[in-house]
């Protein structure tokens, strides 16, 4: 057959199918909760209430979501150009270095609203440069980007450990991290926005990078679907041969896409470093780069989907923490299992239910699935 999947109406494609996938993930997760002897319904209530029930919970959920929006966008930009950037983790981690340089140098002399743009540029630049090397190797040497970006995660991790237990650590300190930033490198919180809606917030790390993330989501949309560069990236992503035919330089497009991807990954570091911890600590990325892969896939590589998927994962992080606290039988590892199930059903098995839904749609309204999609082809 000429196309693997016939067309569904957009609302089914982007709404119904993810919803079904998600429900199945939660049902299976419910069985896991039952296995450890807890009530799955009560667990679900705790999880959702923990994430959205109180102002503080919402703020935490959005704080985590901010991180995932950046990494999700990073993965998506590369994916539109046909590149699987697994190096988001390392690019974000190493970008902490750029932020550290800006913040440690200027936090006593400049106000936050000067340091913030400087740090954005530094984080993006360092992230982009870290992605440049694998991109160059792919474009000019044919070294597979999946392998090189994984390797660069390890290099980034080792380099950061060296710096954080050595040069960047204050002399008297026992902790593997930089000194704490002064007020000039602390980003303003956004909790007051939630308080406008009557929520009560004790202390939560939600900060202005959330708005930056939303702006970046819009800019990525603009880039991918409205600019010449985005057009060239998508052409190459769908068919390198067609890109060659269209006169698009393979080297240029791979390097450009990967540097944008790396820059977005780098910006992720702003959220925990300047918005929350106010220092650069060991392992501050803690897997957000890999979650970004799931977020990007679940969001169908579209910024709106990525923002929604990031909020979902933010909810799982925040609600999961509450759940582990409320139900001792459910450990942190159980939360990881639930997250894993969501990734499995929404990401890896994304198309599992699609044929059935298509058949269902076909039986109701044959026209909606596109008459021309299938040609009998036996050989």
């Amino acid at each position: 057959m000429s196309t693997p999947y016939a067309k569904l109406p957009a609302w089914a494609d982007y709404g119904l199918i993810p919803l079904i996938n998600l429900s199945v993930a939660f049902i299976v997760a419910g069985f896991v909760v039952m296995l450890v002897g807890e009530n799955p319904l009560r667990a679900a209530v705790i999880l959702v209430e923990g994430a959205f029930g109180k102002g503080t919970g919402i703020a935490f959920t959005l704080f985590y979501a901010t991180t995932f929006i950046f990494t999700g966008l990073s993965v998506a930009v590369a994916a539109h150009c046909g590149l699987f950037n697994i190096g988001t983790e390392g690019q974000a981690y190493i970008a902490g270095l750029g932020i550290a340089i800006v913040c440690l140098s200027f936090d006593s002399v400049l106000p936050w609203w000067v340091n913030f743009p400087l740090a954005i540029v530094a984080a993006a630049a360092v992230g982009a440069l870290w992605a440049l090397i694998p991109a160059y190797l792919q474009a000019r040497r044919g070294s597979h980007i999946v392998i090189t970006t994984i390797m660069f995660n390890f290099i980034a991790a080792s380099l950061m450990v060296y710096l954080l237990v050595g040069p960047l650590k204050p002399a008297a300190s026992q902790a593997p991290q930089t000194r704490n930033f002064l007020a000039g490198a602390e980003l303003p919180k956004l909790n007051w926005i939630l308080e406008l809606f009557g929520a009560k917030i004790r202390s939560a790390p939600l900060n202005i990078t959330f708005l930056l993330a939303l702006v970046m989501a819009f800019l990525v949309w603009l880039l991918i679907w409205r600019t010449r560069l985005g057009y060239e990236m998508r052409t190459y992503g769908h068919s390198p041969k067609a890109a060659r035919y269209a006169g698009i330089s393979e080297t240029r497009i791979i390097i450009t896409a990967m540097m944008i991807s790396g820059a977005l990954a780098g910006m992720m570091a702003l959220n925990p470093v300047m918005g929350d911890q106010h220092n650069v600590a060991i392992d501050f990325v803690s897997g957000a780069g890999f979650v970004g892969i799931a977020v990007a896939l679940m969001g169908r590589l579209h910024p709106v989907g990525i923002v929604l998927a990031a909020i979902l994962f933010g909810m799982l992080y925040q609600g999961g923490a509450e759940l582990a606290f409320e139900m001792p039988a459910i450990s942190r590892d159980m939360i990881v299992i639930i997250q894993g199930l969501v990734i499995l059903f929404a990401g890896a098995l994304e198309h599992m239910f699609r044929p059935y839904i298509q058949a269902l749609f076909a039986s109701f309204s044959p026209r909606s699935v596109g008459m021309e999609a299938v040609k009998g082809k036996g050989a």
């Binding site: 057009y231 998508r234 041969k241 067609a242 269209a246 008459m371 999609a373 299938v374 082809k377 050989a379």
Partner: protein
């Protein structure tokens, strides 16, 4: 009429909402050659796949030799004496002929006895049907015509009484095709039944006894071949009258637009595919390059259009050199007025996942007309796409539709519209009508001739000899990477066929 070998009664098959076969009734008489014709997507392949056990019919009955048969897998089909020769051969390239023939029909765990048995059986088959082929030859070293013979032998070895051939002549030279037809006639004389699926009406007329025509999933007619004409069959296939050969006036060839000198091109494995080729292309003429697929035409096209780097040689476009061995880039050639309709529109000429309007600017996306600074000028692109849709009658006429959802003919029109509307001085076209329905062929040919009449230089590469003969003002024949002859449009098929097969090399003009 002889007893029916196969009867299909009321066969229905849907894929989702698409009814690929509806209420098909077909009776194929024993010991005859039965042709099935239809456009791409008419349902021929689906029907044969049902017969061979790849698909299950939703409803309907298959009778083989008068008895109802249930065919769930191809093994069932083989057991019933049905054999199939696929369009794309199902052979293991690095096995010998003998090994391929016993593949899947080994009689026990050790190969030795199977091979010995197969060798004597093969001997008999070869003698009986004139299917000579060296049993110890390695498949990849055999020409395609012989590979196809191995496929036929494979089916016969498994005891096939009914042989289905799917587009068997697509990869053959005219001489090889003739030989195939002789074999098929011999099979018929021995009492075998042959089903021939093709879109080439001339072959139907030449060899079949009976012909059935399919259109849009239905069986529209069955005729005795001797009592029908090519024109009638074409009309039945398309559902309206079609011109099979487009009328065109004399060419008024002008100045040389494209001069190719001593061009040599290697493929990615380092094999020389284009070997020291020289020719001129003039304004106001169509030059056709004929040849059996794989004789270097694809590489020639790719080199001239800047996609593949040439090894040596020089090319002048409008009197100025193009650096095809170095920095030439398809974008630069486009800027200099050389447009290219590539052979492979699915992977090269189009991005199938794109909307139609996005494909209508592919390669011209850096044209300021379609841009506003770094942004795409969506309004201009849409207006332009709508305009082309109207001019080229592209259906469905929706520029927002995904390109994969257009038929082959309409996809080809999208590419042609894009390239022709840029008003290039030189147009290079690879396989202008491959996988395109009969109705669209006429349209595409007319457009190409209109280009010529406007004084453009057009180079057409096609493996369809009919197409080359009907379009070209001059015909160059390629064989093994060289141009082995030049002929006028009135060259006979036999003459060209010999050149295509590499015979009569000294006759090169």
């Amino acid at each position: 009429m002889a007893q029916a070998a196969i009867e299909l009664v009321g066969i229905n098959k849907s894929f989702g909402a698409v009814r690929a076969n509806r209420d098909i009734n077909l009776e194929i008489a024993r010991g005859t050659i039965h042709g099935i014709v239809g456009e791409n997507g008419a349902g021929k392949s689906t029907l044969m796949s049902i017969l061979y056990g790849f698909y299950q019919a939703d409803s309907g009955e298959i009778r083989v030799g008068g008895k109802p048969a249930s065919i769930k897998t191809s093994n069932d089909a083989i057991a019933l004496g049905i054999g199939m020769v696929h369009q794309h051969f199902m052979l293991v390239d690095n096995f010998t002929v003998l090994e391929n023939i016993i593949l899947g029909a080994e009689t026990n765990a050790l190969l030795k006895s199977s091979i010995a048995k197969a060798r004597s059986e093969l001997d008999r088959l070869e003698r009986e049907y004139g299917l000579e082929v060296d049993p110890d030859a390695i498949i990849e070293e055999l020409p395609v015509g012989l590979q196809q013979r191995v496929e036929i032998l494979k089916a016969l070895y498994r005891g096939a009484e009914i042989l289905i051939l799917d587009e068997p002549t697509g990869v053959l030279t005219p001489a090889e095709a003739d030989h195939l037809f002789r074999i098929l006639r011999q099979l018929k004389e021995q009492g075998k039944t042959v089903v021939l699926i093709t879109h080439k009406l001339r072959e139907i007329m030449a060899i079949t006894d009976t012909v059935s025509v399919m259109r849009q999933g239905t069986m529209v007619a069955t005729r005795e071949t001797s009592k029908t004409t090519v024109e009638e069959l074409a009309e039945l296939m398309v559902g309206r009258r079609v011109l099979l050969r487009v009328e065109k006036g004399e060419a008024a060839a002008g100045a040389v637009k494209l001069a190719v000198k001593n061009l040599t091109v290697k493929d990615s494995r380092g094999v020389t595919m284009v070997d020291d080729i020289s020719f001129d292309l003039r304004a106001g003429e169509i030059v056709g390059i004929a040849g059996v697929a794989g004789n270097g035409q694809s590489e020639l096209l790719e080199a001239i259009s800047g996609i593949r780097r040439a090894v040596s040689g020089s090319v002048m476009l409008d009197g100025k050199p193009i650096d095809l061995t170095g920095a030439a880039d398809p974008g630069e050639l486009r800027d200099r007025g050389l447009a290219h309709v590539p052979e492979d529109r699915h992977h090269v000429g189009l991005v199938l996942a794109f909307e139609e309007n996005e494909n209508s600017i592919l390669g011209y996306h850096d044209d300021p007309r379609y841009l506003k600074g770094p942004f795409l000028n969506i309004d201009a692109i849409m207006a332009d796409a709508t305009d082309k849709i109207e001019k080229y009658d592209i259906r469905p006429g929706n520029p927002r539709l995904k390109t994969a959802n257009f038929s082959g003919g309409n996809q080809q029109k999208i590419v042609l519209a894009r390239e022709i509307e840029q008003d290039p001085g030189v147009l290079i076209v690879g396989q202008p009508t491959r996988g395109v329905d009969v109705g669209a062929i006429e349209f595409i040919h007319k457009r190409l001739i209109a280009m010529r009449d406007q004084g453009k230089a057009v180079l057409v590469v096609s493996v369809e000899l009919d197409e080359i003969r009907s379009l070209s003002d001059r015909i160059l024949v390629m064989f093994a990477g060289r141009i082995v002859g030049e002929r006028g449009p009135d060259a006979t098929e036999g003459e060209l066929g010999l050149l295509m097969a590499g015979i009569e090399q000294e006759a090169a003009a």
